[in-house]
Assembly symmetry: C2
Homo-oligomer: 356 residues x 2
């Protein structure tokens, strides 16, 4: 009888342990949280995902991309290394990418149907859950700073169009004339797309099927960071898509879609075909998979990018960092401009193609 | 030996059954899905949540609210009862609420700082995952129809400001002059708020603390429905908040925040202090809790409204319907204009206060 009981108890314990350590079990989800947070900090950035192939990339241009990504990465990392906040690190990296004419954000943004730039950005603080977003800015040099001002100095989360420009100006941000943003390369892209559009068959309502090979919207920028205090932050900035009309807004200024951060899970910034990212609430979905389904950051991000978006035809990628400093940067396109740097790997690592 | 094995096997089976029927177990989440979908259909609507108290409500006004809610509810229900789609049911109900001067959407919308209406709306199809949203409309009689046109006839999800008005006009929607939306009651509210604002202490950046008792943004409208084909849909429409400036956008046109629908889980429309609803990705969070944490619709909606939003000070509520036709309408304010009607309870039920 005694031996029966031993066997019975042992079996129950085995079952319990088996459940507790399952992905949905209660112990599993707590295991990772007990590590010390103080030691971990890091940052990841992106400069857009899309059809980016080595054979189409001149060496000098590739070198320039790598240089500017490295500069943004190291500047953001320096902020957290010196004890600054993840919010300031994200903002610092994004301002540099906005100022670079290479990326589709700030200077060098793609142009709308009317030949001007209309800029969207958002930022979120994982410590407080506060967020700021702007859409359709036309005169603010650095849209990410406008998003930050909305978060810090207004009771609102989102402001759009002329009202958002007016608020940014009142807040003392640098205002530029619309031609500041325009580069010859983007003017050429717009011209090319408008010529294609003229050939569009009737009945398409003026919307043409956008070629997968066109670089019509590559170059959205973003950053995510974990600081020494265990606080996460995420930010995203973009010019949207070439030849856009009707005040089209993509996922970049949408909290939950293009940007999300919560200290209990992760910080995410997305880039890609924005409509799919809005419908799938991509950035928050990664956090929800971690919190509710106990997936790791890497598992959650891969599930969204490869198992949800890809079968729908939703091209793009994300950068994400969790509250332990783990970083993942999955994308389902040929390339994504990206980089990461952390206390564990304090040398900047910059990538463009699948494995390099 | 044989008896040991029997006991061992019985124990393992008991453990397995115990796990399988736990809230996170694999059987539990499937149990509800095996019911026949054909028999269930229904609709729920809301006309805003906030400080709505019986002692402040004249009887004639209350009667009018109940009549107009009932009219919208029965019109939406008639669509699905006759074999129409949940999308058309949602749209039909919302158009009636937009046309009523009682609610803060379409005619009777609250007024911006400059004395005009700026209207936001969104709609989502749970069957396809497609969605449409508009922000800052000034001339379109029924913003929900503009959101539907964005979904059906453009490759985009979101359009804002003048561009969105232009698109709606090109799509043949009814255009009105800005004074169509203005009612004396809303002009009075704006005047009152602008007088309060003049008394705001310096250093508040022109933003005044909005009184909990002010009806400055009550009245956002929305609808969710399940049709005979098992397809879910959700829609939301609003004028935002009285005296809004800077192109402020709330949660109503944000897919994932104010509106979400997916056939695998539920359809949700939200109303309340929009900034909190954006930061908490409220509508999608309810769906994620069902899908990933195996909560029921009612459990998921209550967790978000009472355990997440309320402790943050995020006032408001949601209406939601799941793919079995279950309806829940939780809110953490004194009242919410709301109603529901389903094949199981085909008599329209309309409520305003906590229990009536």
């Amino acid at each position: 009888m005694f031996r029966y009981s031993i066997q019975f108890i042992a079996t129950v314990i085995l079952c319990w342990v088996g459940f507790a350590f399952k992905p949905n079990g209660f112990l599993y989800s707590n295991l990772g949280m007990n590590n010390s947070k103080e030691a971990n900090f890091g940052i990841a950035i992106h400069g857009g995902a899309g059809v980016i192939l080595k054979q189409n990339m001149p060496d000098t241009l590739e070198k320039q991309y790598r240089m500017e990504l490295t500069a943004a990465l190291t500047a953001g990392y320096a902020v957290i290394e010196k004890g600054g906040t993840s919010l300031d690190a994200v903002q610092t990296a994004i301002v540099l990418l906005e100022n670079s004419p290479l990326f589709n954000a700030g200077k060098g943004a793609v142009l709308t149907n009317s030949g001007t730039a209309e800029l969207d950005a958002s930022i979120m603080d994982g410590a407080t859950g506060k967020a700021g977003a702007v859409g359709g800015l036309k005169t603010v040099k650095n849209p990410i700073l406008a998003a930050r001002k909305v978060m810090d100095n207004s009771p609102h989360v989102m402001m759009v169009s002329a009202g958002a420009d007016a608020f940014a100006k009142e807040q003392g941000l640098e205002i530029v004339t619309p031609d500041y943003f325009i580069t010859p390369a983007r003017q050429k892209s717009l011209q090319k797309m408008q010529e294609e559009e003229k050939k569009a068959p009737p009945g398409t309502g003026g919307f043409i099927e956008l070629s997968e090979t066109a670089s019509y919207k590559i170059g959205t920028v973003g950053a995510v960071a974990l600081d020494k205090y265990g606080n996460l932050a995420a930010g995203t900035s973009t010019g949207g898509m070439t030849n856009k009309r009707y005040g089209r807004v993509g996922d970049s200024p949408i909290i939950g879609a293009g940007t999300f951060a919560a200290n209990r899970t992760c910080a995410v910034s997305a880039t890609g075909h924005g409509e799919f990212f809005i419908r799938n609430v991509v950035a928050y979905d990664i956090a929800a998979l971690m919190e509710y389904a106990a997936l790791s950051l890497t598992e959650a991000a891969r599930r969204v990018i490869f198992e949800k978006l890809l079968p729908q035809g939703g091209t793009g990628g994300v950068i994400a960092i969790d509250n332990q400093g783990n970083i993942t940067m999955p994308f389902n396109t040929q390339g994504m401009y990206r980089g990461m740097m952390s206390v564990k790997h304090p040398k900047p690592q910059v990538f463009i193609y699948q494995n390099q």
